[in-house]
Every structure is written in structure tokens, then in C-alpha cells.
């Protein structure tokens, strides 16, 4: 057992037992971040703050929500939205944050792709991030079931139907997932459990992994410069802060993060109070009705691109392209054959590839909500084909890439 002395202060008392000075040094004051970064490096903190908002608002909503197919709709739209003081505020924060968090996730992902921050030792950052993306998608989908409106019901019907895997007709699997032939009480109960317990636990664990994965390779910087963190941090600690290429996580990096977060919060809460329609689909304000299919069934905006990977093709082939779209991004670090971990602007054809991918995914998203016919079908078909082509082309264009 370690040697304990009489504490000289409360701080000392805790420090002897918990080593808080060491923890603080390792996690905050001597966790070194490159100085050469822009505000896109604050997306991680924005995501953490938004996740925090979702967690807190979710806890308040959980106190009044009733996971019962007869009362769920009214517990949300009447009890929470009308009777509970500020219940509407929690719900709006929850719904808007759930939508906006995907915008930030996409910006975060495209930042990583643009600066090549997924290779040369940073593979696990990318992979754990992709796992988080999947977990957040599952969290969003399960949460969307809970108000038990028309879109909850029919989106639940459509998405769980995917598990029959087209021509394989695995209807037994679909029933097993639903707990019934159609979305019903068992369905709502299990998605409730997933949404408030299992998936949040997985997300929190994955966030830990994601942060941990950053520790050894360190964060990338704007110029993809390889920094000797030992040398630079010594320079900083010796007092030469201006010439050191690194900064402390706390307060240096954090102060910049918080400035970006604060500006982001102004934007987020503007949406919460005045422009929330995009996050709260009107169709879902009709109670679930298994006998009346809505005219339009579409997912939330952040799933539209992968939905459109499914739609232009026949059932079986569409499922394959859909699965391709879900899985292929995990392999990005291995499909990119170039060693260059620098901005796409310095990477020749990869730059073209990057902007095409971005525009293509936006085009797919747009077509996902259009009627699947005529010109919209053609654009969707082209965009989906281009998506596949881009990923097939990636190893080829990067293998010939010159050293930046």
C-alpha cells in the first residue's frame, strides 16, 4: 500500500488518493494539440456538447414519456408539449439536436477525409468514428419510433422490412426483430429500451474508444506536418509558447473550442425556437395508424443518401448497393493507398474525388425525398452509380498519387 501522510489541504487529500494532479496533467494541461488548426477541429467538442444536450433533454423527456402504443403519442404531444412546464423546450432541444448532430458528424467526417486524418496510425480514430456513426444512426432511428406517429410506425415498418433481405425472404428474422408481425407494443418496448439504455451505453463506450484512439497518433493539423510532440511540448513548457508548434488541451485548445461552441449554440438554439420543422416532420404529428399508409414515406434528411442508394435499383441489387454504402466507408483508410496525410488540395486527383463525393452525397440526399420517377429517378440512379464508382476508383487514383 502506498504511503499516505496527513493531508495539508482538501486538494492534497484527494491528490494522495486519486492522483488528480496527474490526471489533470495527462488529460488536460499536458495533452498536446497542434497549434496549426482551424475551427473545423472544434467539431469534436461541438459533438460532445450536443450529445450532452441530448442526454440531459432525454433524461427530462424520459420522466414523462410512456412507452405504450395507446399513450405514447399523447404523452409526447400533449403531456410533454403542453402540460409539463418547459416540456416543449426539452422536446425541441432533443429533436433539433438529434438532427443537427448529424450535420456536425458529416462536417467532422468530411474534415477527416479532406485532411487525410485517417491514416498513418490514425486508422482506429476513423474506424471508431464510423462505429459511432452507426451507433448514432441506430440511436436516431430507435428514437424516431418513440412518439408513435405515422412516420414512426411506417419508417419502422419499412426499415425492419429491409432485414427480410429481399429475395431471401427472411420474414422470420423481421418478425423476430419486431417481436410481432407488424410494429406493435413489443416493437415499441424494445426500441424504447434500445434508445434509452443499450445504444446510449454503446455510444458512451465508443466515445471513450474514439478519444483513446486519438491519444497515441495525436490530432492531425492543417498542413499534415509531422510534429515531434516531445520536442515541441518541452519548448512550450520552457516558456517559448510562441514558437512551439503545440498547445495545451486546457486551456489553449479548449478556449478556442468554446468560442466555436458558443457561436454554434446561437445557431442551434435559433433552430430550436424558430426553425424546427426540418427536425420534426409534420407527418409524425398524426398518430400511428396501421391501416393508413402516408402518401410519402421518407427517412430524416441524414439518412436520405443511403436510402437513395437503395431506391433506384431492383430489390436485391438495391440491398447490395445499400449494404455497400453502409460498409465501404469503414475501409477508407485501406482504400486510400497514398501515404499523404495532408489537405486534399495538395493531393491531385484525390481533391477531385473529395469534392465529387461530397456533391454526390448531397445529390443522393436530395433525390431520396423526391418522387422516384422521371428526371428525379435518373439523377438518383446516376448519383448512386457514381457513388459506387468513386469508391471503386479510390485505390486506383491514390496508388499513383505523388508524395505531397
Amino acid at each position: 500500500m502506498a504511503h499516505f501522510t496527513k493531508a495539508t489541504s482538501i486538494h492534497d487529500w484527494f491528490n494522495q488518493r486519486l492522483g488528480i494532479d496527474t490526471v489533470n496533467r495527462v488529460l488536460a494541461t499536458e495533452y498536446w494539440i497542434p497549434k496549426n488548426i482551424n475551427f473545423l477541429w472544434a467539431m469534436g467538442m461541438i459533438l460532445a456538447v450536443t450529445f450532452g444536450l441530448l442526454l440531459v433533454s432525454g433524461i427530462f423527456l424520459l420522466m414523462y414519456y410512456q412507452p405504450n402504443i395507446h399513450t405514447a403519442f399523447d404523452s409526447v404531444n400533449y403531456t410533454i408539449m403542453q402540460q409539463v412546464d418547459f416540456g416543449w423546450l426539452w422536446r425541441h432541444i432533443h429533436a433539433v439536436s438529434a438532427s443537427v448532430i448529424f450535420l456536425i458528424i458529416y462536417i467532422h467526417m468530411f474534415t477527416g477525409i479532406y485532411y487525410g486524418s485517417y491514416k498513418n496510425g490514425r486508422e482506429m480514430i476513423w474506424i471508431s468514428g464510423m462505429l459511432l456513426f452507426v451507433a448514432f444512426s441506430a440511436e436516431a432511428f430507435s428514437g424516431y419510433m418513440l412518439p408513435w406517429g405515422q412516420m414512426s410506425y411506417w419508417a419502422g415498418m419499412v426499415i425492419t422490412n429491409l432485414f427480410s433481405l429481399g429475395g431471401l425472404h427472411l420474414n422470420g428474422l423481421v418478425e423476430w426483430i419486431r417481436g410481432d408481425y407488424i410494429p406493435s407494443q413489443a416493437f415499441l418496448d424494445r426500441f424504447f429500451m434500445l434508445h434509452v439504455l443499450l445504444i446510449p451505453l454503446i455510444i458512451i463506450a465508443l466515445i471513450g474508444l474514439h478519444f483513446g484512439a486519438l491519444r497515441i497518433p495525436h490530432v492531425n493539423n492543417q498542413d499534415g506536418e509531422e510534429i515531434d510532440f516531445d520536442v515541441e511540448s518541452k519548448k512550450y513548457l520552457a516558456g517559448d509558447k510562441a514558437n512551439s508548434k503545440v498547445i495545451r488541451f486546457m486551456n489553449d485548445f479548449l478556449s478556442k473550442d468554446m468560442a466555436v461552441v458558443a457561436i454554434y449554440l446561437v445557431f442551434l438554439f435559433y433552430l430550436v425556437f424558430w426553425n424546427f420543422g426540418f427536425a420534426m416532420d409534420p407527418i409524425n404529428f398524426d398518430p400511428a395508424n396501421g391501416l393508413q399508409t402516408p402518401r410519402d414515406i421518407y427517412p430524416e434528411w441524414y439518412f436520405l443518401w443511403s436510402y437513395e442508394m437503395l431506391r433506384p435499383f431492383s430489390t436485391n441489387f438495391g440491398l447490395m448497393t445499400f449494404a455497400f454504402a453502409q460498409g465501404i466507408m469503414f475501409l477508407l483508410p485501406f482504400l486510400d493507398r497514398s501515404k499523404n496525410a495532408v489537405a486534399a488540395s495538395r493531393r491531385g486527383w484525390f481533391q477531385v474525388w473529395f469534392w465529387l463525393l461530397l456533391v454526390d452525397m448531397i445529390a443522393l440526399s436530395a433525390m431520396g425525398k423526391m418522387p422516384p420517377s422521371g428526371i428525379w429517378y435518373d439523377i438518383g440512379f446516376t448519383a448512386a452509380s457514381l457513388f459506387i464508382a468513386l469508391w471503386v476508383a479510390l485505390p486506383i487514383i491514390t496508388i499513383f498519387e505523388k508524395k505531397a
Partner: protein, 313 residues
């Protein structure tokens, strides 16, 4: 400068995505309908000036309105309770007390003359299929028919609440409430749900409600939807255009044209807002306070960043 450029790029792609996944699809997928301000241009204009006293005699006498309709303000009670009336006619005939305030006079006149035509229900009630609308046409009481109708309309207007006293409750209950329930305001098709002292009374009321709804289903083909959340699920524009002419959105629907006046429609809208979105005002006021707080917070956050980073450059 570079950060500003990045911000512009991120914003442009974000706004483009918003436009393409939110604004554009709703334009493409929307069923287009336009409001004509509840003018009912297809119906003939009122040419005669009505006389309320003569109108009263017609409504209570030769017009035979009071045989089926309650006119509570004039001391004429409902001939039947709502459930019995609905089983006889399909739907409970409206109390005429405030129709003069809620409906357009032009529409009222056209309705008295030929109900199925004014209500745009001729696809349902016509000579071909032999079905006639429960309310008979007014064939005249021996004089100038148009004058008689103008008199009756004048009378109905004279007994109704004055325009400035027309409440959302009166407008909604008169125009929509006999077919549509709004359980967030505790409104049922047979009236406001009372407070019950005993479970039996509650069950009795519920039984009446269900019996009434059965008649409605037989009459209309399905139970008209509960309108509690319609302000959020359909939005003002849709409700407005739908009220003006339901055929705008659902061809062949059993829902009649309501015939409300512009003012009546506004009051109905107020009612639906109260039912489905009563926190709208609070949202704006709390929103303003939160924005003030966040802007101040952002100023301090930026100042802190500047303070910390002044040694780093």
C-alpha cells in the same frame, strides 16, 4: 481569413443540403392549392337585402328550419339529442344560433337553396344514384324565393353573436365540432366532455359518443380525424385551403365544403392553434431570452480565447 473561407464553404454546402432536402422536396411533393379568401366565387352573389323580422317568421315557420335545427338563442331547443339526431340524419344538424356569424352569408343562402351543391357533395348525393342530402332544398314559401332566402340569412345574422364577440370555441364548435373531435381540448362530437363524479356517468357519456361516431362512420365512410395536432401535422396553409374547399386536396372526399367566412376561418384556426400548439407565444419569448444569454456567452467565450491565445502567437 482562411477560417472565414472555410466557414463560407461549410455554410454554402449546409444551406444547399437544407434547400435540397427540405425546401425543394416539399415544393415538388406538395399538392398545389390556392386560397381565394373564402369568397366562394362559384356561388351566386347575394342581390336582395334581407329583412330579419320576415326571416324569423320563415325560419320558425314556413322555412321549417326549426323542425330539425336547434336555435338555442331564440329559445328553440334541439328536437332530438345529438345521438338520436345522428342516427336519423347521419350527423347532428347544427344549432343555428351562431351560424350567421361563422358562415359566409353567400354560402348560407346557397346552402338553403341547394345544400348538396353549396357543400360540394353532388358527387355523393345526386339524382343518378338516388341519394338525397339529409337537409331538403328550400323550394320557397310562396313569394320571391331569393328574397325569402335573404330574409332568413338576415335573421340568422341578427341572432348570432356580434363579430367582435365571436370566439374560437363558438367558431370551431359550429363549423367543425359535430364531425371532428379534439381530445386535447376535451371536445367530442357530442359536446365538451364534462367532469364526471362517477365511473358510470363517464361510461354513459362514452357510450353516447361511440354511438354517435357509429352514425358518422355510416354516413361518411370513416370517422373524421381528431384535429388535436392538425396545426402541426398539416400547418396553417393546408388547413386554410382545405377548409375553403376540401376537394382542393382530396378529390371526392365525403367532407363537405364548410362555408365559413374569412373571420370564421381565422377563429377556427385560433382554436386549432390553442389545441395543438398552445406554447407558440412562450416559445418566442423564452427564445429571445435564451438568444440574449447565448450572445453574451459567445462574447465572453471569444474574449477568453483571445486572452488565452495572445501568448501563443
Amino acid at each position: 481569413m482562411k477560417e472565414l473561407l472555410i466557414l463560407v464553404i461549410v455554410s454554402v454546402f449546409t444551406l444547399a443540403t437544407y434547400y435540397l432536402t427540405e425546401t425543394l422536396p416539399s415544393k415538388v411533393n406538395e399538392i398545389h392549392a390556392e386560397s381565394h379568401g373564402f369568397a366562394y366565387a362559384d356561388l351566386p352573389a347575394l342581390t336582395k337585402k334581407g329583412n330579419a323580422a320576415r326571416g324569423k317568421a320563415l325560419v320558425m315557420g314556413a322555412g321549417a328550419c326549426s323542425g330539425c335545427h336547434a336555435i338555442t338563442v331564440a329559445g328553440n331547443p334541439a328536437p332530438m339529442d345529438p345521438v338520436t339526431a345522428a342516427s336519423a340524419y347521419g350527423v347532428n344538424p347544427p344549432d343555428l344560433s351562431n351560424v350567421g356569424a361563422v358562415y359566409s352569408p353567400k354560402f348560407l343562402a346557397a346552402l338553403i337553396k341547394n345544400p348538396a351543391h353549396a357543400l360540394i357533395l353532388e358527387h355523393k348525393f345526386n339524382a343518378k344514384n338516388g341519394r338525397s342530402f339529409p337537409m331538403p332544398q328550400f323550394y320557397g314559401a310562396g313569394g320571391d324565393k331569393d328574397q325569402e332566402i335573404a330574409d332568413m340569412v338576415a335573421y340568422l345574422q341578427s341572432i348570432a353573436v356580434p363579430k367582435d364577440k365571436l370566439t374560437p370555441d363558438i367558431a370551431f364548435q359550429t363549423a367543425c365540432g359535430r364531425c371532428h373531435a379534439v381530445h386535447y381540448t376535451k371536445w367530442t362530437q357530442i359536446g365538451q366532455t364534462p367532469k364526471f363524479k362517477k365511473e358510470q356517468a363517464k361510461l354513459e357519456f362514452r357510450t353516447k359518443e361511440l354511438n354517435y361516431q357509429d352514425s358518422l362512420i355510416a354516413y361518411l365512410g370513416k370517422l373524421p380525424p381528431d384535429l388535436s395536432m392538425y396545426i402541426r401535422s398539416r400547418g396553417e396553409e393546408y388547413i386554410n385551403n382545405f377548409m375553403e374547399d376540401p376537394q382542393n386536396y382530396i378529390k371526392g372526399t365525403a367532407m363537405p365544403r364548410v362555408g365559413v367566412s374569412k373571420e370564421g376561418a381565422e377563429k377556427v384556426m385560433d382554436y386549432l392553434k390553442k389545441a395543438g400548439d398552445p406554447k407558440a407565444a412562450e416559445r418566442t419569448s423564452v427564445g429571445k431570452d435564451v438568444m440574449i444569454f447565448l450572445v453574451i456567452f459567445a462574447i465572453f467565450a471569444i474574449l477568453w480565447k483571445k486572452e488565452v491565445w495572445k501568448d501563443l502567437h
